[in-house]
Symmetry: C2
Subunit: 433 residues, 2 copies
Amino acid sequence: MDQLEKKVTEWAEENAAKAVSLLKRLIGEKSMFGNEFNAQAVVLEKLRQFDMDIDVWEPSIKQLKEHPYFVSEREDFHESPNITAVKKGAGGGRSLILNGHIDVVPEGNPAAWTYEPFTAVEKDGKIYGRGSTDMKGGNTALLLALEALEACSVTLKGDVLFQSVVDEECGGAGTLSAVMRGYKADGALIPEPTNLKLFVKQQGSMWFRITVRGLSAHGGTRYEGVSAIEKSLHVITALKELEHVRNARIIDPLYRDVPIPVPINIGTVQGGTWPSSVADRVVIEGRCGIAPDETPEAVKEELTSWLKDLEYRDEWFKHHPAEIEWFGAQWLPNDLPDEHPLISALESSFEKMKGAKPIREASPWGTDGGLLHHAGQTPVIVFGPGEVKAAHQANEYIEVRALIDAVKIISLFMMEWCGVADGGDGADKGTEG
Amino acid sequence: MDQLEKKVTEWAEENAAKAVSLLKRLIGEKSMFGNEFNAQAVVLEKLRQFDMDIDVWEPSIKQLKEHPYFVSEREDFHESPNITAVKKGAGGGRSLILNGHIDVVPEGNPAAWTYEPFTAVEKDGKIYGRGSTDMKGGNTALLLALEALEACSVTLKGDVLFQSVVDEECGGAGTLSAVMRGYKADGALIPEPTNLKLFVKQQGSMWFRITVRGLSAHGGTRYEGVSAIEKSLHVITALKELEHVRNARIIDPLYRDVPIPVPINIGTVQGGTWPSSVADRVVIEGRCGIAPDETPEAVKEELTSWLKDLEYRDEWFKHHPAEIEWFGAQWLPNDLPDEHPLISALESSFEKMKGAKPIREASPWGTDGGLLHHAGQTPVIVFGPGEVKAAHQANEYIEVRALIDAVKIISLFMMEWCGVADGGDGADKGTEG
């Protein structure tokens, strides 16, 4: 670490309380689906302390609906503004998007929480609350990294675009709107909870709904009908076999220890209306994983064709095919080549702080990185201070230590990636990728 | 046919319009669950024309709940009176219960009806309307048979007990209440729709609810959970195997042409709450047939023990056993020995009218006969003018011809079974069984 890097990380350590305080304020603003306004106001208040160009807008449903990747079921984005703040670089460096979502999932059963979900209790080095890990902790790390560079008078060569987006938990309309507004960069970092590991690939996913048909009859003469429940067993078996075939193709060593890299999860099954009638309809809903190198279209085609082949298992399906539709949310996968400079830059920054290389992993869930990559042509790495296992759970928490480490590593990474034009010591740290 | 028999059947033919008119009035009174009062009033009006002792009472829930065969979910029988009218015989003959239920099932989707369900339209020799076949047509045949004997001054030796009961469609609390009130006889006839065939055995049935447990997890890491949907496939397979084993035991020639004499129908399946979560609970509801020679208790035991053995198929069930409960309605089976005099008496009466023996069959559904038999120790034969296939359907109908034939055959049967003490010609037609 050079002098300037040392100065920046020391500032981050000395100002840990600022990070904690900001995170607590963010957790205090309950920013669920359609209600992100107050949390964004806290972000804005912070951003206005920096020398940045701030763009605040409500995404346009009309415009979003024209995009093939738009999947949200929202009708408008009233009270759900997006923010992008741009720090122009001195020139000659790589640009960087720092993207975090401000929306959180509902708290679930309040009785399952030891601490009130939106009060942000600090205890034994942890901060508890909905969104602490996913991902207001990550967003706080980004804002504090911006502040650290500003406080230490570090001027970067490349532009930095900080984004606080809405709607990630419902499919990513916030990030998609930012992409459609023209915000792209040479690289992006999303501080979703990774326990400070580098998530270089993310599984995408889509929801499907399969309808299986039968023929109703009285239960006492059930042989006069055709049970959609019995027929649905063929569908379930076929989906399990397809899952096996799809996963056998995955040879990426990152998935070596993952039992099922891209699962087909059958989440719900609903069939029949009366105990003593033969069910004439079963509806199966589930989630199909998308491998990092796959497109949703290819996966849809494969699943549809697999279901069509059910007629070879059972003639019934020839005249009563299982119908498939895709509904609800969709998360695009993301994929960073092994030798991508985003990885080496972040590994180098991590090593400077921690004295060892970070772990690389692939995540079993998607992020807005899929949209930044596929819709915005911006390569993305996912790295953040939260705990994967705490996300979406009761008593969600984040370790304060990890939060401050993330501030430091992300500050160093920004200097590494964008290049330093003129810091406290005037050294040029930029490298071109 | 002797003179008196001829006179009775001729009266029935000449007074066909009375039967049609009474049936129309009964159909016009919408006597669904909890609302049988007005239809019973029409029955009472008719009964009061005869020389009978009439007993009208609202069944007592408190008393019924003490009976092991009580299964109704009703809280009271307000506006749902039962009727039993007794015609004392001259003595020395066999007593007979004539039992019909006055309640009807709901009309279902009104758009599926060509004729208004409670208007009783007569067209092309048929009367359309809810309850025409199941079983106000049968009840009308009973009442007209009573009237035929009265009109022809036929005095029977044995007592005749006419019963118009509530609640058959919900499990038989009306008939059970009549049994508990002490009404029993040497034999009973229930004119449920049999197309004028003799139903000498009836399949009973019970409803079951099986809960299968799993372990929740995120769909992207579904291998961290245990899918209750996958586990439920074992349960469904086991139930199908048990159905096979149970039906392989049935050697009664009456069931020779029935593909599955006592089916286990899996009617509904409901599992999981979210497409991208692993389902931790599946609930399966269904109907289990009870063979004529089985008790509900033995069937419950067999099914419970079969589910217990799931642990040999999959260890999961050892610590997370499938739970079974019995809910909703229950219909007891009924079984008449091949040589029972009820059969020979009815066959003889049928043959006198039709010139050929009637068809004997076993029904795939239960009737109140199971309760009369098991709770009331009264042997039961089921024989009526309705069409099995029209019951519970839209455009339910009955053939007027079959209705009048039933009046005649049932009149002759009453004379045959109870014996004639003193008719228009004074002949003694009684036989002891």
